[in-house]
Symmetry: C2
Subunit: 315 residues, 2 copies
């Protein structure tokens, strides 16, 4: 009986499986998960206190975030309807806010992104991760940035207070960041440090900071967008901005950038009818946040079943 | 410009889109989401107080829950590796508990299941839903059932107290259920009511109740499993049980039922090495819970982007 099963696993896969088991059973992972659990509880408490309405995830849908960095769509056949795995459910949170009865929404939203193998050693890319995805009609850029600064401060302070033992075992010293966070313009940083400016700045600084003014997706206003960046080399924490919602703006940008408008037909129809609203928001990657909180070099280690681009997946 | 966009949407699809918009913008949906938000906060608070470790979802993986009711696997190509959309991440929660440092885990886990069109009018099937998926090493059947009774009582009481206004608008009167809940044996009910016994009992009773003794998946112990059922016709609330974890038992049941063992090669290898632990747990469907709490006839109405088998999907 032993042999018949052994044959179903090749030697290489078996070695990977056993190293995964070692990771799953490690005290280190348990410490990471204790910190993650506290951080998630803190996030939910904060959002609940701020009266954000929680929506459920959308994992498959006729349309998804196009994402400008070239992650291809994954299509699924569902009774002759073509659905996609959502790379993020950003368009859905905008659509939820069509309602006059909802002011701000959030979702713990899983995002599947088949990133290129080249991301393997970035230390911060996963094929699947979860985003705390938030959107509000009541705040603009400055107000939203200030909300996020409070959120980050709250989470760090709470983890520091409640996870003392786990932090000590991981030899991680956390600093509750001072508000307001520093703000830099992407153009200025690029002029000074070249294209890797975000990475360089993240390695230089000791507290989270903002970079503003990116050219991103068709829905983001270049004059009112922002990235939150973790310090100590942990890189991007959150992307967000005020959004384009007017039909004319959306179509103009899509045409400028050569989008297939048909893919967003339903969304554009809503815009054309004036149903979309001016909103502002962002998405914080949970696994990257946990990596920052725990101080781990590679995001592979922040969970039992993380999947890194270019690596064999056994579980 | 108007015409060029109109052409991208067929008339039927446009009509569906506009009826969806009406739903998204309705006061009724806002009430449902207020109740959902409170219920989710209550669930997280409860799990956190009971010291469950929260894991992140696994949406794609080499293996998934086989499910005995014939929902087919959805495969994805990822750099020459075949992955599946998880119909549930039940095997992953068992594997997380290989760790001696973890006693109980939970996940807010999205499940994608391409259910047959015939489920369209059941009022309780969705192509995608979220499960509060729990597993523990510290409790057995009776202890876990009692934990769930507390959880349900806590959620109902909190929603009743905090969402008075939304409940009134939905004309929903909630009763905090008395503990312990009634327990029935599936064989007895089947003998008395025929194959639709769960539905009939759900319609008959006024408070949540248990049915035990099912023949289910290879991982469930028939002598120690249970379903929680919502009353007033709302049907199944949770499935769970004590689990098989010994290699011999798993292989015997798989062979009895004609499984493709290779699909579970890694899992069986862990069992063969004695790494899996005796655990007990279950999964509560969030959307079905919200349907019960809000008293809505059809699960389609519990969220802005619900997808019902056999219906056109526009958003």
């Amino acid at each position: 009986m032993k042999r018949s099963i052994k044959q179903t696993m090749e030697k290489t896969k078996l070695a990977i499986l056993l190293s995964k088991v070692k990771h799953v059973k490690s005290e280190k992972l348990a410490c990471v998960l204790a910190i993650q659990t506290e951080a998630l509880a803190a996030l939910h408490d904060f959002m609940h206190r701020r009266r954000f309405t929680q929506l459920m995830p959308v994992v498959v849908a006729p349309m998804t975030d196009p994402l400008c960095h070239g992650v291809h769509d994954i299509e699924i056949d569902c009774d002759s309807q073509k659905l996609k795995l959502t790379k993020s459910m950003i368009l859905h949170k905008f659509m939820a806010l069509m309602s006059d009865h909802l002011s701000h929404v959030y979702i713990m939203s899983p995002c599947v992104r088949l990133e290129p193998k080249a991301c393997k050693d970035s230390g911060r890319h996963l094929l699947e991760f979860t985003q705390l995805d938030m959107e509000t009609k009541d705040l603009q850029k400055e107000g939203f940035m200030s909300l996020i600064e409070e959120l980050v401060g709250y989470v760090v302070a709470r983890v520091k207070k409640k996870c003392d033992c786990a932090l000590r075992l991981l030899e991680r010293e956390l600093i509750v960041p001072k508000r307001p966070f520093k703000v830099f313009k992407s153009a200025d940083l690029k002029a000074r440090y070249g294209k890797d400016y975000e990475k360089i700045m993240s390695e230089k600084l000791k507290e989270p900071f903002w970079i503003t003014g990116f050219k991103r997706e068709f829905y983001d206003r270049e004059d009112a967008d922002y990235d939150l960046v973790w310090p100590e080399g942990f890189g991007e924490a959150m992307s967000g901005g005020q959004r384009h919602y007017k039909y004319g703006d959306l179509v103009r940008i899509m045409r400028d950038r050569g989008y297939d408008e048909k893919q967003f037909g339903a969304y554009l129809e809503l815009a054309r009818r004036g149903l979309l609203k001016p909103t502002c928001g962002g998405g914080i990657g949970i696994e990257r946040m946990v990596r920052f909180l725990t101080g781990l070099p590679h995001i592979r280690d922040v969970g039992p079943f993380t999947k890194v681009p270019g690596e064999d997946i056994v579980l």
